[in-house]
Amino acid sequence: MGDVGYVALCVVAPIAWALVMYLVFEALDRKRPGDDRAPPVDYSI
């Protein structure tokens, strides 16, 4: 990998990492009991 490729990796990798962390924390928050989000609406008849 050349210098340009390495710099590109340095720029892009944090985005990928941030996305992974975001998905993990969002998933954890969804499971957390006592969450202050609105409960899912039940549309069943």
Binding site: P14, W17, A18, M21, Y22
Partner: protein
């Protein structure tokens, strides 16, 4: 002991490790911001060895501080994890940059001098000035009132991939921003041999609005992992002196523990004055050495 061309007193190195560990424990930082320049300037140790060995010493101090702060329930782990990915890449980039600088020379006063020590010393002066300004802002009345939560400019920014921080109760902090902060801290770590905690703390307190004690406990996990990785990278390049690291580690874990206990017992103004004095002395030593080289 002999390191490079420098003959170093073991007792003096142990004492330096103790002081650095104590300061690190008090403020929840690794202490590399004073260790690397002092090793290079006061003891005359080659700068690449000072950087690598300093990172090795930070592993121990950051682990002790991490365990202490986690036990007290202080620190936001989500920030640590967000910083980590960027930090590891940054450490690698910083290490490569130092290796690239090591082979270059610059002509100063008609004499060819190695570029790496000059660049690092200038970077240290800038970084220590940043630390001093940040903490003197705290001394002007910022630190105690910041024991409560407020929303700093970085937590108000509407950036993508925002998550909730349950420990410090911030509703929206962008993981993207946190990952790039990690990249910057990692780069400083690999290049200058500092853990990055001393730069992270003002960012957390004034940027995100963390309470002071929570900020001190945040980033230590990242510090611990990235200093391990940085030590491994520098060791592969022969930049870590094991005898020097062992002398530094002889007293620093215990003094870091004492330092983290002292945070609660010693009056805040005394701690601040002591910290500022240490930073100013380190900066004076670096500036003096830099002026001596340039003349």
């Amino acid at each position: 002991m002999q390191i490079g061309d420098a003959h170093v007193s073991v007792l003096a190195v142990v004492a330096l490790g103790a002081v650095v560990g104590f300061v690190g424990g008090v403020f929840g930082v690794g202490g590399g911001f004073m260790l690397t320049p002092l090793l290079a300037v006061v003891f005359g140790i080659p700068v690449h060895v000072a950087v690598g060995t300093s990172l090795c010493q930070i592993i121990a101090t950051s682990l002790v501080s991490l365990l202490k702060f986690r036990k007290a329930g202080l620190g936001e782990v989500r920030i640590d994890l967000g910083l980590l990915g960027g930090s590891l890449i940054g450490v690698d980039a910083g290490t490569r940059t130092l290796a690239a600088l090591a082979h270059r020379t610059v002509v100063v006063g008609g004499v060819a001098a190695p570029l790496a020590p000059l660049v690092l010393q200038v970077a240290y002066v800038v970084m220590l000035a940043f630390v001093l300004v940040s903490f003197s802002r705290g001394a002007a009345g910022g630190l105690e009132p910041l024991d409560y939560l407020r929303f700093g400019p970085l937590s108000r920014a509407r950036l993508p991939l925002a998550v909730r921080l349950p420990t410090v109760q911030l509703p929206r902090v962008s993981m993207l921003l946190v990952a790039y902060v990690g990249l910057g801290l990692g780069f400083l770590s690999g290049l200058l041999g500092l853990g990055g905690g001393v730069v992270l703390m003002p960012i957390l307190v004034y940027g995100f609005g963390f309470p002071m004690r929570q900020a001190a406990g945040t980033g230590l996990l990242m510090l611990f992992v990235s200093s391990m990785f940085g030590t491994a990278r520098h060791a592969m390049m022969g930049n870590v002196s094991l005898p020097l690291a062992m002398a530094l580690l002889a007293a620093s874990p215990v003094s870091a523990l004492l330092g983290s206990r002292a945070t609660k017992r010693l009056p805040a103004p005394l701690l601040r004055r002591g910290f500022s004095a240490v930073v100013v002395l380190t900066m004076c030593a670096v500036v003096w050495d830099l002026a001596r080289k340039v003349r």
